[in-house]
């Protein structure tokens, strides 16, 4: 791993599209340690925030700083809410990602095998990725990010399509990825998962960062009425 890229500092982040402010001034600092969970109702701006942090979108106003640098995508990876599968085998998807990062052939093979094994996809390695089931595709997308050994992994609802057992298995994988030194920043709609995985919670609502707290205190004593309603399952759009 190259030079560290944390902390990630967001300053007055505004994102506008179609004449509307979708993110309305987000300021936060994200550290290298712990798992950061971004929570909030549908349309709050969680996916947008991840895309901005990952550098796929440019902020309309405000700054994103990775430990002073602004270009650090090489050490990052992201799993999208809707997994994108290349028209290659499952294994080919992983190999491709590594080739993009200039990883040599022998090393590629070693890492791909390891990751396929640990995401339960070894038996599907040769299948075209796009014939895999929704949940398998999501696991493959996770594997494709993991295999890059990034410093930070952005996960946009990584278990949205998974059955309960597979969700738990993916949570274990996420812990394992973190244990290998990767910072986890993720969104989820599963409050149980948020309780299990969250160290720090960023709670977004309508494009604003409403609360930012340690997970335990967020769930036991939310300060804002929105967060309280969200936790109680009463906050809708």
């Amino acid at each position: 791993m190259s030079q560290p890229i944390f902390p990630l500092v967001l300053t007055g982040l505004v994102y506008e599209a179609g004449g509307q402010a979708l993110l309305k001034g987000i300021t936060a600092e994200i550290q290298a340690t712990g798992r950061t969970l971004i929570l909030g109702p549908n349309g709050a701006g969680k996916s947008l925030l991840l895309r901005l942090c990952h550098g796929l979108l440019k902020p309309t106003r405000g700054r994103i700083d990775w430990c002073g640098q602004t270009e650090a995508r090489r050490d990052q990876a992201m799993v999208f809410q809707r997994p994108v599968m290349l028209r290659r085998s499952a294994m080919g998807n992983l190999t491709y990602a590594l080739a993009c990062r200039g990883v040599g052939r022998a090393e590629r093979r070693r890492r791909v095998e390891e990751v396929l094994d640990r995401t339960g996809l070894a038996a599907k390695a040769k299948l075209p990725a796009r014939v895999l089931s929704g949940g398998e595709q999501q696991r493959l997308a996770l594997a494709r990010a993991w295999v890059l050994r990034p410093q930070v992994l952005f996960l946009d609802e990584p278990t949205a399509n998974l059955d309960p057992a597979a969700s738990l298995a993916v949570e274990e994988v996420i812990l394992e990825i973190q244990a290998s030194g990767t910072k986890i920043v993720m969104t989820t709609h599963d409050l149980g998962q948020a309780r299990r995985l969250g160290d720090e919670i960023l709670f977004l609502c309508d494009g604003r960062l409403v609360e930012r707290k340690a997970a335990a205190s967020f769930f036991s004593g939310p300060e804002s009425p929105e967060a309280a309603a969200f936790i109680a399952g009463r906050l809708t759009w």
Binding site: L56, F80, V84, L86, R130, L132
Partner: protein
Amino acid sequence: MDDFATAFALAFEMIGALDADLVEIVGLSLKVSLTAVGIAALIGLPLGAAVALFRFPGAGLLTIILNAMMGLPPVVVGLVVYLLISRAGPLGVLELLFTPAAMIFAQVLLVMPIIAALTRQVVIDLWEEYDELLLSLGIGRGRAIGTLLWDGRFRVLSVVLAGLGRAMAEVGAVMIVGGNINHVTRVMTTTIALETSKGNLTLALGLGIILLALSLLINGAIHVASVEAARRSAG
């Protein structure tokens, strides 16, 4: 009607016996069209991808031109190439007129826009789907070209085959710039035109049957490629 039946019988006999003239003509046809399509693909695939992915001044205009050129009448292409390579033309010194090279040249002009324009659409569709992933992996638009062409390989193959079908079937361009010279520039379509007008239906029919069979073969291959493309993008 009797003449017709006899001509058919003779035509099949000719094909069965691998008649020397017939083989020569079919061979030249394949050589000219395959070479032309190969060259057209080498230019058209990256060109179509570039027009799809890059915003450069004139990209829009180039797209319109490519689309318009898809339907170019072969005789017009033949005429333009004729003017270019005839003795007095700007490429006259190359002495290409009435050679297979001239026919290849004309067919490249005819087929390249088709390949480029159709490839553009394939690449646009795929990029729409892949852009965030590729950007996330650090692949810019330039490096994406190879990825997109490869991932769209079955659709790209259909595009190239469509170009081949067009090249094999056209008669106007090769007639004008090739001149339909016996043993030099006679291909299937020009021979059919000439022999029919001379009343020699046997050779014309024999070639017609082969041309039809090749066309069916090409279209069958396009079909298989499309089915495979659909299968690969399932899920």
